[in-house]
Amino acid sequence: MTPSDRLPGGVAGSTVRRWVRFTPGQRIGRTLAYLISMIAIVWSVRTIEVIPEFLYDAPEQAVDLFRRMWPIDWSFWHKMVAEALVETFHTATLGTLIALVLAIPVALLAARNVTPSVGLNLLAKFILVASRSVNSLIWALLFVAVFGPGALAGTLAIAFRSIGFVGKLLAEALEETPVGPIEALTAAGAPRGSILLEGYWPQIEPSFWSVALFRWDINVRESAVLGLVGAGGIGVALDTGLNNLYWDQVGLCLLVIFVVVIATEIATSTIRSRII
């Protein structure tokens, strides 16, 4: 292709070509999206209740709060926090394990390639959405009403909330498995169970453990607060401190929670880089 000798520059009388970034259809879509977002935001700002007096002395209140938390009440550790911490750990871990077990059948039902029945797919998907929509704190309320206060309620709350999370990601992983190996097994006459075990499971296993680790990390954080509604763990200690307005105890609980979260994150990233 030989380059032209024309130097770039306007030539008198030539038609000016225009460049538009978006097609008219795209432009309408984008304008609509912006409009809706703006309306939602402006409306929310105008109708949200903010009591100005409270807002003005907020910095003062915050400083006051931190001043009351210091010095931290270390004795609270032995009185309540250490035990509660162990309970929190078990709640998170056991809850995650239970969720993993319960999520597998639901995920199998929700995956379109594993379960061809649309009705079952929708039912399973509804179970997963319902599980996810209800916050673990609210699940905890429900289980405290059924099983009484304590770590059992907390564990079940964690479990039931996690089913939706784990199940959704597992179902997606199942739907994305390449169909080749499955076809091979079906062609060889393998029964359903074997196909699941030897065809699907090896392919989703890495995702499974990755999701499990991810959810466990989140669950440790969640377990720490369930005690606020009586479901056991360090949240109970936190709640005790808050109710009595012993801010130094509250400070200790917050510090412990912070350390635990950091530790969990280090643990999960180490496990991830070593094994996954």
Partner: protein, 252 residues
């Protein structure tokens, strides 16, 4: 013809005591295509990238338009870069942007942030972009996404982007190494024609000695960080090539 680019005693060490460029001095004149040849690792790429400061030289001067680029910082450096266009081996287009937007990147040194955000580039720039697209044979491709193009097409866009800057010097870092032989010739034709039409120097790093001899007015051979040959293609002989590349096996 006064020199557009003067390099004096350029030296670059990536690791202390292991210089990749050892005392390179060159003067590049006002027009024509200059090809730099030499084996991999000999500092060709480093030399080119020092010129527009994508790599910082360890010592030496790079005089362009009277200023020493090696000493410039901040705004002054950006203004110097505006006047130097660059073509990359792997095209380095922003893949998710359209061809037109990639071309307009050439004007980023001249357009304010607000206009760039809203994509309200001056009409003159847009018109110029269309003309350049015609010149490189991609007139209908303005709204295509860059990652939908073939390698040769992408490199044409890369060249057009460099020319959009209205540069006084164009650098090309192995522009044909990722392309097939036929497309390589087309790209070199574009670059050579560009040098002639705009009367600016074009400096090209290239592996392929045949292409270099065919399109360049001047060949610079480098080996182990120093210039070992500098002259017209007609003066390039076999013993020069042996000195540059070492060994004879590849010549046969």
């Amino acid at each position: 013809m006064s020199a557009a680019l003067v390099i004096r005693n350029l030296r670059k060490e990536y690791r202390a005591g292991v210089p990749v460029l050892k005392d390179v001095s060159l003067e590049i004149g006002g027009e024509g295509l200059t090809a730099i040849i030499g084996p991999s690792g000999t500092g060709k790429s480093t030399l080119i990238r020092c010129i527009n400061r994508l790599v910082d030289p360890s010592s030496g001067q790079i005089l362009f338009g009277g200023e020493d680029i090696a000493q410039l910082e901040g705004r002054a450096l950006r203004e110097a870069r505006r006047r130097i266009g660059m073509v990359f081996q792997e095209y380095n287009l922003v893949e998710r942007l359209t061809v037109m937007e990639n071309l307009l990147c050439g004007r980023l040194g001249y357009v304010s942030v607000w206009r760039v955000w809203l994509r309200k580039f001056p009409d003159a720039d847009i018109e110029r972009a269309f003309e350049l697209l015609d010149t490189v044979g991609l007139g209908e491709f303005a709204t295509r996404r860059a990652d939908a193009l073939s390698g040769g097409q992408r490199q044409r866009v890369g060249i057009a982007r460099a020319v959009m800057q209205g540069p006084e010097l164009v650098l090309a870092d192995e522009p044909t190494s990722s392309l097939d032989p036929k497309t390589s010739v087309e790209i070199m034709e574009l670059l050579a024609g560009l040098a002639k039409a705009r009367s600016i120097p074009v400096v090209v790093n290239i592996h392929n000695v045949e292409l270099a001899k065919r399109f360049a007015q001047r060949i610079i051979g480098m080996a182990q960080g120093v210039v070992v040959f500098d002259g017209p293609p007609s003066a390039l002989r076999e013993d020069h090539l042996i000195q540059i590349y070492g060994g004879q096996g590849w010549l046969e």
